[in-house]
């Protein structure tokens, strides 16, 4: 009974301030959680990005003061024949490599989703190309693609399929782009396969069972169950892949440095050459930044096309 008796002291007292309670307030706690990543992103992504935009509007040679020149760097790019070659190269490289990674990645994920002996070991091994530092694995590819030492050419020559020394994988401008795409696909495939595999494992087996009872074949199940349910995962993984491939640097710089005759020069390598080797920071920043609208357009187009259906 005493519990419901009003306290004798009727003056209102604010509860003593408690740091623990204050920290638990949603308004405070949420900012505490979100704050550090925002600061982190602001410092490491936001600042360089906006500084990059500013740089691209300057005539800013290395070790000298910058001078504001408006859009002159972009106009210079527009009139630079090498820049347009870079644009075409980057799109070809990104689109072809991404499609190949998507197709083979999905195939690999479907195979890995089956039950077989050494399944876990195989899955772990699959990640190897992704784990090995790019520069290291690319140097291995340099040997593979060198006609004199190439295991591919050796095999083809030994089987009398071609005359020695065989194709010049990095010396022929057309083959060079193809070779880089193959190396990029080899390296990016595990990322696709493992991510898609994770997506596949979230699909309930009941759906497949129900479809089997309804008489659906393998293709029908893939087309009407797997693919629609995988769309969000495919979208995310493709988006990441497009970004990585579009801005690829290491692989190309090690294998061809943009040669032969600029046939494999892409945004990142060209921007680096102009900014670091040419000492023109403003122009380098302008080249790098032209990637942004192109990339945004590609991602927007993908977002619309791969939008998960509301139903």
């Amino acid at each position: 009974m005493t519990a419901i008796v009003a306290p004798a002291d009727t003056t209102r007292r604010r509860p003593a301030f408690s740091l623990a309670r204050w920290l638990e307030r949603p308004g405070v706690f949420s900012w505490m959680m979100v704050g550090p990543p925002i600061i982190f992103l602001g410092m490491l992504v936001g600042y360089p990005f906006f500084y990059g935009i500013w740089l691209s509007l300057l005539n800013r040679p290395v070790a000298a003061e910058g001078k504001f020149i408006g859009l002159d760097n972009y106009i210079a790019d527009w009139h630079d024949p090498a820049f347009w070659q870079v644009v075409i190269n980057t799109f070809v490289y990104t689109i072809v490599a991404t499609i190949l990674k998507m197709v083979f990645g999905l195939g690999l994920a479907l195979v890995m989703n089956q039950d077989f002996r050494f399944k876990n070991l195989t899955r772990a091994l699959l990640l190897l190309p992704f784990i090995v530092p790019t520069v290291l694995s690319t140097i291995a590819w340099q040997w593979i693609l060198d006609p004199a030492f190439s295991v591919i050419n050796w095999t083809l020559v030994t089987l009398h399929l071609i005359a020695p020394p065989g194709p010049s994988w990095l010396g022929n401008p057309d083959l060079a782009m193809g070779s880089l795409i193959i190396v990029n696909v080899w390296r990016g495939l595990p990322f696709y396969a493992i991510t898609l595999l994770a997506g596949l494992q979230t699909i309930s087996p009941d759906l497949y069972e129900a479809a089997t009872i309804d008489g659906a074949g393998t293709w029908t199940k893939f087309r009407y169950i797997t693919l629609p349910l995988m769309k969000p995962v495919i979208f995310i993984v493709t988006m990441f892949s497009v970004i990585f491939t579009f801005a690829d640097f290491q692989l190309i710089y090690v294998l061809t440095r943009g040669g032969p005759a600029n046939s494999t020069q892409v945004f990142a390598t060209y921007a680096f050459d102009v900014a670091m080797n040419g000492g023109q920071f403003g122009q380098g920043a302008a080249i790098a930044l032209t990637m942004v609208p192109a990339l945004a357009l590609m991602i927007a187009a993908m977002a619309i096309y791969l939008r998960p259906s509301k139903s």
């Binding site: 006609p147 020394p165 010396g171 040669g259 670091m276 000492g279």
Partner: protein
Amino acid sequence: MAGVSRQSRRDLLKVGALGAAASLAGPSIVRAAPKAMTMMHESSFIPPYDAFFKNKLAVAYEKATGIKINYEVVSVGSLLTRVTTTAENGSGPDMSTVGFNWAYLFDEKLIDVSDIAAEIGKEGGGWYDNAQEAVVVNGKWKAIPYANIGQLMNWRTDWFKEAGYEKFPDTWDELLEAGIKLKKNGHPFGFELGHGFGDNHGWLYPLLWSYGGREVEADGKTIVIDSDETARAIDYCRRLYKETMVEDCLGWTDVSNNKAFLSEQISCTNNAESILWLAKKDFPEMAKVIDQSQNPTGPKGRFHFLNVQAHAIFSHTPDKQAAKDFLRWLMKPENLGPWYDVAVTYYQPFLHKYDDAPMWNVDKRNIPYRDAVASAHLPGWPAPLSRAQVEVIAKFVVIDMFAQACAGKSTKDAIAEAKQKLTAIYKA
């Protein structure tokens, strides 16, 4: 590093305070020497060369002056990036090797060393004139050139002999003739035409010049790439590529030709002395049949590529005089001479005093590298150093003009594209 520069800054304050006190007290000025300074170098292809600096020169200098010289080595190909960050941030090593046209690129961040350059030149029998092409900016020496790493013809004497050549062909035309025969015998040529940073420039610019072609006039403004001379150089290059070389060299970077030569895939290339050096060490039998020669001559003469290595002092260095004193000491014959000797002639001096140095007698096959120094120029020659020239190199304008022609583009179109690029770059 941070420790060193902090220490140096404190010393600088001390110097300032002491200087002020001294000027008040009387005429004698006290200067506190820094405890340490750092010199940055790209890792040498000749390992004993780096070791000699670290273990002999730096030690001797510390013994003589009490100043420790740290020797910071960066990997091949990354020196420009390091110099850029050092100059931009105004902190890091006190001195560095600079190459190519960097003295111009970093002009404002490097101190004037004209005074010691004059002394060194006097003591060393005079500078080669072209050494100044790479280091004198607006009349001031911004670095002390200590060596050229020449790019010359490396060839297999046994295979050339087989094709009827006892000597290396004297003209580009004779080289083409020889190459056709050698390729027929299964020993093609291989010259870099890709996006490397040395071996492509090493022969393509000299080829262009020896046919009378050039990018820009001496005024540094008038674009003259579109000429019959350039067209003839390109036509020649296309033939040389198609009729004598392996297809792959269009995509080569700097390591590729060394690899191809030492694995006996090619019979001739343009390179520094590194091929013969490595062959002597690892393939002694092959080394016996390798020779080195100057570039062939063309209708307008014989040219080579200037690959200057020079020491520069960053303007952020707390004690500039101490850094100058060190460079002055380093360039003294008793210190520089033995340093050259460990690398035999891989580093070719720009001082006439060394024209007959004993190192040239170690292997007569190296002598062409000495004789080539005087006819070597920087890309962009005969125009003076400029940012535009640096950009032309970074964008591979001239290299790609030749490469495109070799890959199938017409001479006219290749020149037109190069002209368009050059016009855009030089207008800036």
